[in-house]
Assembly symmetry: C2
Homo-oligomer: 911 residues x 2
């Protein structure tokens, strides 16, 4: 018979630490710890496979599972000398989820299972602590009622709070055993009212129900959202861990806590964690009571502390990674409840990787592979400007729960965050966050809570998402219902409302009123520089360039380590307010002669732009794309013109003045000139501009535009070369569908280059002419195209649009429907569609290199900064990737990981 249930504890286990697929991360950790003779409360794990079987068989488990569970339970009862649900000596267990990949707080847990009206009396007798026993029972009914029976938590809270109010209790601990008994009576009534049945007294039935609830929580909304965000497959399933309860709430010699072997926020090598005396685990994680730092445990329970440090230290060496552990002290005895590789922030990941390499715990290669490239984002984004901080009002200082600066408008609910986020940055402010808030946390720029510690829900989730977070800022009074945040600053009451600006520093825990200035990160110093240095060592010749249109961006790109510009969009230079009138005049020109005259005015501007870029990129290549967008993008919108023209006869003088400014026409000429303007706009109007008269097609119609741009490029090159700058221009023709278009445009560029360079006596200046591959036909005929191209650069934004027949601007309208129907694994505009678009890219590289062995190949679409896409580009044989300046380090790391992982395409090997 297939094994579905795995026992552990007492120095041995059926499974081991490698069996995460079967036992989940938690179950595998428990098995491994048991084998290592660590003090683990014994129990058993129901495998992840059962979860899938459960859903496949219509929410039922196969009979074999029940049988094996019963056997494992029997063994456990024998080992503990207790019996589940026994009136005399009842065994209590916890029932917890545990998937292959940790999903903190996303699935359900039930503690104290096995309690019933008899058992509670036995516990009372045996512990000699009636309050403890009643509190356990009270907690169990509440948890079971909420998780398994699906009764609102709020309903239980009402009963509890009513009792507190009635008795005048300030804290939960002020309630007596009698109070708790009364609460239990009311709880049971609530259960009977809501479910139509009494609270289940049969302990094995409780167990089966709890197990099923854990399985169901795998497909809960929260869990699904989390998996989608973290790209965890839906078919892994969760295991269920049934483990003997140990109690951290048996008085002052008991405690419970969580910790990390290193600081998960900064990466500092310091024993790190929190604990609460006389509490159960959920009290720590849920952030209801603010716990003590773990260093206090040394004073409170020195022996336990020593044992804990030794055990966790060994665990880190064993797993060769930071450990995130849970422990409970029951009447002075330490129990390890869980260990796993700890989640960490980007900065922590880099520091830990560098430290562990230096400690020789891992190799340099492993170090480079340990950091998720996406996580670097957190190190590259701005921090609050120290100077600017001084001018802002400091509201409070909470815990530095997730690093980085966040500036935005206050929102008090997750739903509001979702509504407001598209309009501008929001900061989600909550007393404490709960798993149901996850959709709001996902869109917020930062998270602020007034309660909870460094391991509270808000802190853990924010770190996971790389969102700055200040947690447990207790000075703040957060009233979510009235949407107010109140704080006393220098004895003056200050109130922030929804929509007010607030600034957080997640690295210091500071909270400021107002909109703080931020400053850029510096990736060229400190631990990050060391780490990136290693990455670059492995990356070798696989290059990373940046997309940059103006010298300022080019400067940033160099700072982030870009080895050239992979895409300069020349049209961006014309959208500037002082230039667009010249561009418009050019477009409105009715003949070539007038067009050439206006182009002559644009030439010096463009030349200056290019000169600036070349200077910043001294010694590195600069890919300059000729004019790409359709001309109507530079003119007023057609429909606005139509409406204004309809309004004009009845317009008052104010409206006319507005129109006059809008179109740069004197009021008196509106009547005559608006129709002329509209006529030209109509002429240029397109049904599908994406597939219209743009890119090289403009150059074919108006060769004089290409000519002007080529002239600006080469005149700029001559100019800065004379100043001692090394210039490597690569002229890129966009939207080419076949070799003839490239040939047509290349001829213009080469002729202009020859003329300009000859005149300057610089005929040996090396330059390239190549093309963007962004139309399927160009990829399909890449062997022909390559005969005329010095380089290919994949424009994967447009290539994705054309290959998938999917307009990026319109896709958002049905994106949700497609996500719901699970048609795309990822947003194809964020993560390269390797199956479809990728296949075309592979074909094009292969065909291109067949025709021209030394063809330079890169990518300049936004996918060039997305790690999985970067790795694809490497495998496909590209020479470099290019992305936005801030993503350059991410691309560098992804590229290094791609090289370490190895497999390069045939085309690359031969190149």
């Amino acid at each position: 018979m297939k094994k579905y249930v795995y026992s552990f504890g007492g120095g041995s286990a059926d499974g081991d630490g490698k069996m995460k697929d079967v036992l989940g991360g938690k179950g595998a950790g428990l098995a491994e710890m048991s084998r290592a003779h660590l003090p683990v409360p014994p129990g058993f794990t129901i495998s992840t496979e059962v979860c899938n079987l459960y859903f496949q068989s219509g929410n039922k488990v196969p009979p074999e599972v029940d049988q094996q569970t019963s056997e494992a339970l029997g063994e456990l009862e024998q080992q503990m000398g207790q019996k589940l649900g026994d009136a005399q000596n009842p065994l209590l267990v916890s029932v917890r989820s545990g998937a292959k990949f940790s999903m903190p707080g996303m699935m359900d847990t039930i503690l104290n299972l096995g309690l019933n009206d008899q058992a509670v009396q036995s516990i009372e007798r045996r512990s000699g602590n009636p309050r403890f026993a009643q509190d356990c029972y009270r907690r169990f009914i509440q948890m079971f009622g909420n998780v398994v029976l699906e009764i609102e938590k709020h309903d239980f809270d009402q009963i509890f709070d009513a009792r507190k109010k009635k008795t005048g209790a300030k804290f939960d601990t002020d309630l007596t055993a009698e109070d708790l008994k009364a609460i239990i009576v009311d709880y049971k009534k609530l259960v009977e009212k809501k479910t139509g049945k009494p609270f289940p007294q049969e302990a094995r039935q409780q167990l089966a129900m709890a197990r099923d609830a854990v399985f169901r929580s795998w497909n809960g909304k929260r869990a699904i959202t989390y998996r989608r965000m973290n790209q965890i497959p839906d078919n892994l399933g969760t295991a269920v861990n049934v483990q003997t309860m140990v109690f951290g709430n048996l008085g002052d010699t008991s405690a419970t806590g969580v910790g990390f072997t290193r600081n998960p926020s900064t990466g500092e090598k310091a024993f790190y964690g929190e604990f609460l005396v006389n509490a159960q685990g959920e009290d720590v994680v849920a952030g209801i009571r603010t716990p003590q730092p773990i260093s206090e445990l040394e004073k409170a329970m020195p022996q336990v502390y020593g044992q804990l440090r030794e055990i966790t230290g060994n665990l880190e060496k064993h797993y060769r990674d930071v450990q995130d552990f849970e422990f409970t002290v029951q009447e002075g005895k330490l129990y390890m409840l869980q260990t796993r590789n700890g989640k960490r922030t980007g900065p922590a990941a880099v520091r830990i990787a560098v430290d562990m390499v230096k400690e020789k715990l891992i190799t340099k290669q492993e170090g480079v592979l340990r950091v998720d490239p996406q996580q670097l984002d957190q190190l590259l984004h701005p921090v609050l400007d120290a100077e600017a901080k001084k001018s802002l009002k400091l509201l409070a200082t909470g815990l530095p729960a997730s690093p980085g600066a966040a500036v935005g408008r206050v929102v008090f609910t997750a739903d509001e965050a979702v509504v407001q986020a598209p309009k501008g940055p929001v900061i989600l402010v909550r007393a404490e966050t709960v798993p149901d808030d996850i959709h709001g946390m996902e869109v917020a720029k930062g998270i602020l809570t007034s309660r909870g510690g460094m391991t509270s829900h808000a802190a853990v989730v924010a770190r996971g998402m790389g969102i700055p977070c200040v947690a447990g800022a207790g000075e703040l009074e957060v009233n979510e219902r009235r949407k107010e945040l109140v704080v006393n600053v220098n004895s003056k009451k200050l109130m922030l409302r929804e929509g007010d600006w607030i600034s957080l520093d997640g690295s210091t825990g500071e909270v400021f009123a107002g909109q703080a200035r931020t400053i850029d990160a510096d990736p060229s110093s400190g631990v990050l520089a060391t780490f990136m240095g290693w990455a670059d060592e492995f990356r070798g010749k696989f290059g990373v360039r940046a997309n940059a249109d103006i010298p300022r961006d080019a400067k940033a790109a160099r700072r982030f380590g870009a080895e050239g510009i992979g895409l300069c969009r020349t049209e961006h230079m014309f959208f500037a307010e002082d230039r667009i009138p010249f561009m418009q005049a050019m477009i409105l020109a009715r003949d070539e002669k007038t067009r050439r005259k206006t182009l002559a005015k644009l030439l010096p501007m463009q030349r200056a732009d290019f000169a600036g870029l070349f200077k910043e990129m001294d010694g590195f290549p600069v890919v300059i794309r000729t004019l790409d967008p359709p001309l109507h993008e530079f003119l007023p919108k057609r429909e606005n013109l139509m409406v204004d023209l309809a309004r004009l006869p009845h317009a008052d003088s104010k409206t006319k003045k507005e129109m006059s400014q809008r179109y740069g026409l004197p009021v008196g000429q509106l009547r005559k000139e608006l129709p002329v303007l509209l006529a030209r706009v109509e002429e240029l109007h397109e049904f599908n501009p994406m597939l219209g008269h743009r890119g090289c097609r403009l150059g074919v119609t108006y060769p004089e535009i290409t000519e002007m741009q080529a002239r600006a490029i080469f005149e700029a090159a001559v100019q800065v070369t004379k100043k001692g700058v090394k210039v490597i221009p690569e002229v890129m023709i966009p939207l080419v569908g076949g070799v003839k278009e490239l040939e047509n445009q290349k001829k213009i560029v080469v002729e202009v280059a020859a003329e300009v360079l000859e005149k300057a006596n610089m005929k040996d200046l090396k330059y390239m002419v190549g093309t963007m591959i962004e139309i399927p036909r160009a990829a399909l005929t890449a062997d022909q195209v390559a005969t005329q191209a010095d380089f290919f650069s994949f424009g994967t934004n447009d290539l994705t649009q054309t290959t998938m027949g999917l307009s990026r601007d319109d896709y958002t309208k049905f994106q949700k429907d497609y996500e719901k129907a699970k048609i795309f694994d990822n947003d194809p505009f964020a993560v390269l569609d390797q199956e479809g678009v990728g296949k075309l890219i592979e074909m094009a590289v292969e065909l291109g290199r067949q025709a021209r062995r030394d063809l330079e190949v890169g990518i300049c679409g936004e996918h060039g900064g997305e790690p999985s896409s970067v790795q694809f580009c490497y495998r496909a044989g590209m020479n470099y990737v290019s992305c936005s300046p801030y993503r350059v380090p991410i691309a560098r790391l992804a590229a290094a990981q791609a090289v370490i992982s190895g497999d390069k395409s045939e085309a690359m090997r031969t190149a």
Copy 2:
């Protein structure tokens, strides 16, 4: 040394009839006729290769050519006992172009070359006919002046007409030798004035200049246009034929004529042609004098006639095809000037092919290959309704120069035709057409001339283009300058002006005032039926279906031989005026429930449509595509709504009423409802509708639409099956980009089908679910897609748009620039781009059949009716093509020719 010059004549020739590449068609024919001892005036041919050399060396011929020419000329002079330019016994020659493929009238010809001031006197002496001699010289100066020296024909005409006026001459022949001498003096003055040099007297210089002019005419505007239209490569070049002049204008025992061995208009096996006594060839071809039918020659010159019939009869047998010949009779002696395979109309091509097969002159296969599929178009288009003719005023009856009916508005110039044609059908009316009119003839629906015969320029070109033409309708007075057409009908003067309606019957020569009704051709009877039967024999299993949306089209499709419907666009059923309100209500529905309610109203309409199609296609498959266009196409246009909304506050009651009708809203509700309508239209507005929310994407968002359509299909199938009709439904999901979309939509279709068929107890009704391949990604992942598809149908309209990144609607804006720059060989929306789009198709067929050997594959884009594309589809391994009903016979023939030509792809062989 390479041979560039080939002599012929006197019973032998350097070349032969197979050397069309080298000698051109005319030169090869002359060589072949010489070898057959036919009476060909001797001469030599300068090869086509020299034409290319001429352009490559900057309009110069290599010295070897001059040398070989000189040698050939020397031999010719010896043979004739005459010398070029000799004062005593001058040799006169003609210099004519002659490319591999005949391009009638497109290139230049010069006659009587060798004449100068001395030679003319010698001719005068030797012929004893001063008028003849002077007329030759006059013609030569005029022709040379126009063609070689590029002086406007008009300038010569002015001198000639002035003399006629001065002397009171009515006809050209009224001018005396003295008159002609005076004209020659003026002509020579004109030449000197225009060129700054006297008219060249050196005969060898004349020859070299004439040769070069012929070469240059290869790259003249007319020739380029003709090649583009007829898809003749630009690099073939023309040969130059230099041939001893013979004179048809030496009095009444001389004549010149042209003819066909069979009627090129009807195909009738009858000796056919025209001649003029005492004339040179150009008089016949240019249509200046209306010639006599060739039967008259029998009376005028019985011996010559007999000899001509015998020679041409033998030529037809020799070449196994209809011969188009030119001859001259010089003082009773017959000379053959040219023979070539004759151009013919579509009806003639079919009839000749069938007759020749029956005469066992050619095989059935050859017969099928002899007809250009495009030519069938002429047999399939409507003819004038005989009944309708009776109610129209017959203006005139001219020559039935090119068959078919044409109805349109009168235009008098080629330029006007080009301007007006996009707005509606035009008929080009000219006194006579000239090669410079070709751009206007190309766009006209029909051509009408008042002068010229069956072989006039208008007639020849119209037949070549397959455009109906009535030529030489002498009753008509065409005044092109005043843009009037005047005719006496029953002694009443009738005038038509530009823009008036006119109707032609090119098969009878009738011309009617007004807009005649037309009736459809019947392809299922007569010679065409025989011919198509043979085509179908060879075509075998390679199927032809039709694109048809409504039963009427389906009926026509069957009549034209379609074996099923390859594409039914279901949305066309909703654009009908009585249905669109239901469609709009469905789109405006804000929730699924309301949407389902409105869909329920559309269901019976759609069901009835499908039932009608199934009935017409009894026993044949019907491919039904689910809803494809974006929903906004069914709503009013956004910009119109915006403008109307801006106008509404100031609108008068008439305007409001118009708006009320436009939007189907009561006047009183416009203010409230227009903004609501606009809001929904805004919501649905797309930047690139082609790449937007359409096709299966609609079905993913609104599964209830797919569900309703599937229900309509299967309920209709059940309904007509019960009536004994054999139904083969193939449900096609559009715009699929990958297997998951197909899976999603297929599930809906299969579930509805199961439900409907089960209820009707018809579970064994066979149907297919497949997909349109119209997005590159679907083609690239066709192996996956095929796992869910019973069939593929290539939607090459959209596949061309996406693969080339080219919007069909916007392409027209720069199409001319692309043609000028020679970027596309053909319009990719008319002729399949085999290199790019075709490559994707081949990949998709191969991948699809890998996954599913029995995958049915077809094409339903408009390329499915274009012969070269049909042949590609066969080679790519498709099972069928589908096209518009009228193109079905064209596709059937193209398919047959593809099968006969043979090469099938691997994928097809394994299928």
